[in-house]
């Protein structure tokens, strides 16, 4: 069987998700052995354009150019897979959605006249059909390896969409919400990180975005019981997955 051809593409992002691939020190060469890394500018000058069996997309769409580019990549790819919160929900830069872009530009740039940017940062799935979404800000190495290994053998990657709480308990962490009253998004957040934050005595801040059927309202009510004010609750839901519909709606309720 021919090795699947992989292209790795970057949109608006911090580079962290594609860096995760280079951070797979133990597996990198095995990955390169199992798939043909045809296009990956962060790692290689060779730009082998053409058709890709798998396209990894990092980042969200924030400029007119990016909006065109994603259509082209989609047309040239069999399976289009998004990596991380930016590509999957818009990422941190989606905080500008709903804000006054002109004011944002003024806040940052001395000479704003050249700035060419869309008013929104949007997930890839707003533009093209996405075959699989890997969550996280950043994605976890485990998930990435699982994704590649599963794709190579043809199984569904095991990246369950249940709550981070399950991983928290599998890891044997003590719930920070119950034992410390620390606000934690674990109950509404998609698993994948291994419940890192509770393991470090802090609440989950939602890198992996909403879980399946998240009850954000019930969690927000409990956060308020623990003393969080509306502003804190709104902020908690508006970080790296601020544009994920369930989180955005909950945040709006507290603005």
């Amino acid at each position: 069987m021919a090795k699947p051809r992989l292209g790795v593409f970057k949109f608006s992002s911090c580079d962290g998700c594609q860096l995760s691939l280079l951070d797979c020190e133990d597996e990198l060469l095995a990955v390169a052995g199992a798939i043909d890394i045809a296009y990956f500018p962060e790692a290689t000058r060779s730009d082998d354009v053409g058709h890709y069996d798998i396209a990894f997309i990092e980042g969200s769409v924030t400029t007119p150019h990016e909006a065109e580019m994603i259509q082209d990549i989609r047309a040239r790819s069999t399976a289009l897979i998004t990596l991380g919160a930016c590509a999957t929900s818009g990422g941190i830069q989606a905080l500008k959605n709903g804000a006054d872009t002109a004011a944002f530009i003024d806040a940052v740039y001395a000479h704003p006249e050249y700035i060419d940017t869309l008013d929104t940062a949007t997930p890839i799935s707003d533009h093209v059909t996405v075959d699989f979404e890997l969550r996280g800000c950043p994605i976890s190495k485990r998930d990435l390896i699982e994704l590649v290994a599963a794709t190579v053998v043809g199984r569904t990657p095991q990246t369950p969409s249940h709550a981070a709480c399950i991983e928290c308990k599998l890891a044997g962490h003590v719930c920070v919400m119950v034992s410390q009253g620390t606000p934690c998004l674990g109950p509404v957040t998609h698993a994948g990180c291994g419940a890192l934050c509770p393991g470090y005595a802090r609440g989950c801040y939602g890198c992996f975005g909403p879980k399946e059927t998240p009850n954000t309202a019930a969690l927000a009510a409990q956060l308020a019981n623990h003393g969080a004010d509306n502003r804190q609750i709104a902020r908690l839901f508006s970080t790296f997955n601020t544009n994920a519909p369930e989180f955005r709606k909950e945040a709006e309720k507290h603005e």
């Binding site: 095991q158 249940h162 709480c165 308990k169 119950v178 034992s179």
Partner: protein, 360 residues
Amino acid sequence: MTLPVVIDIKALDQLVQTLAKDRQVMGPVRRDGAVVYEEIQGVDDLPRGWIDEQEGGHYRLKREGDKLFGYTVGPSSWKRFLHPPKQTLWRAGGGGITPEPIAEDRFAFLGVRGCELAAIQVQDKVFMDGPYRDPHYAARRENLFIVAVNCTRAGATCFCASMDTGPKVNPGYDIALTEIDGGLLAEVGSDAGGAALAALTSRPATEADLAAAAQGIKDAEGQMGRKLNTDGLADILKDNPDHPRWSVVADACLNCANCTMVCPTCFCTTVDEVSALDSDEVSRENRWASCFTTEFSYVHGGAVRPGAKARYRQWMTHKLGTWWDQFDSSGCTGCGRCITWCPVGIDITEEAAAIRGEGG
């Protein structure tokens, strides 16, 4: 059987050391603001002088007194060791299948409470009494030595008295301890327990010792923070799948699965396929699963229980109702963990009462 004796803390330490010679002794330790079960080296590791304050969705440790076992049950349960969160089943590579060697763990548990021993016995039925058994569980169970502890203090979310599982432990232990002034009353529950106890420095228990222990247990019974009326409950639950209360609880429930993870009897697992990129070996692994997730009931095309209401109903009806049909026992032993460790404090006793038409 041997008469009860009284041992002191030094003797208890000696017991731990003796058991540790050919076992991993697991016991209570204080970690990250809670009492959890981990490997212990001696009595010094125990959370002496710490008690817990529990309520729905609330747990805090505080200093009070100097009892070794003043705390009640915490977030971890013994199932973590007997039925671990992940268990490899077999590995395959190079054309053949190698079953995972049957677990050789030899555990001794120190501080098993009444509700907890009952929970172990519930899982025994699940994993060992059916037409098929889980050989890893069975092996760990056979090698297990249990030092139980009768509760002399109960928490606000405890209701073992309603479930007939405590505060005094039912048989099934090797040794049972009751903390009294000036020592620990020790009772023997098995030959192995008798032998282990005989090797320790002890004195025969006096009437006063026995009375003090009984009083401690009675005190705990009086402090029981929750009650569950089990009368006809199984049928009430099964007969009320459309009770409006299920929708009420579904609105509050996060379906985060914490209750099932902390519950000492919840046994469900999902099988994961594990393959690596750099080897041909693949393996299959069991992982704790929960009926609160949609993937749990997934059949091609969608979940059988997509709604939160159906998932909560499944869990509670199973625990308190259909468990009886399946295993001829309750699936709940009244430990209260699911109440305390639910991030929003949903209370199984309150929900059951509400379906029954009381309170709520």
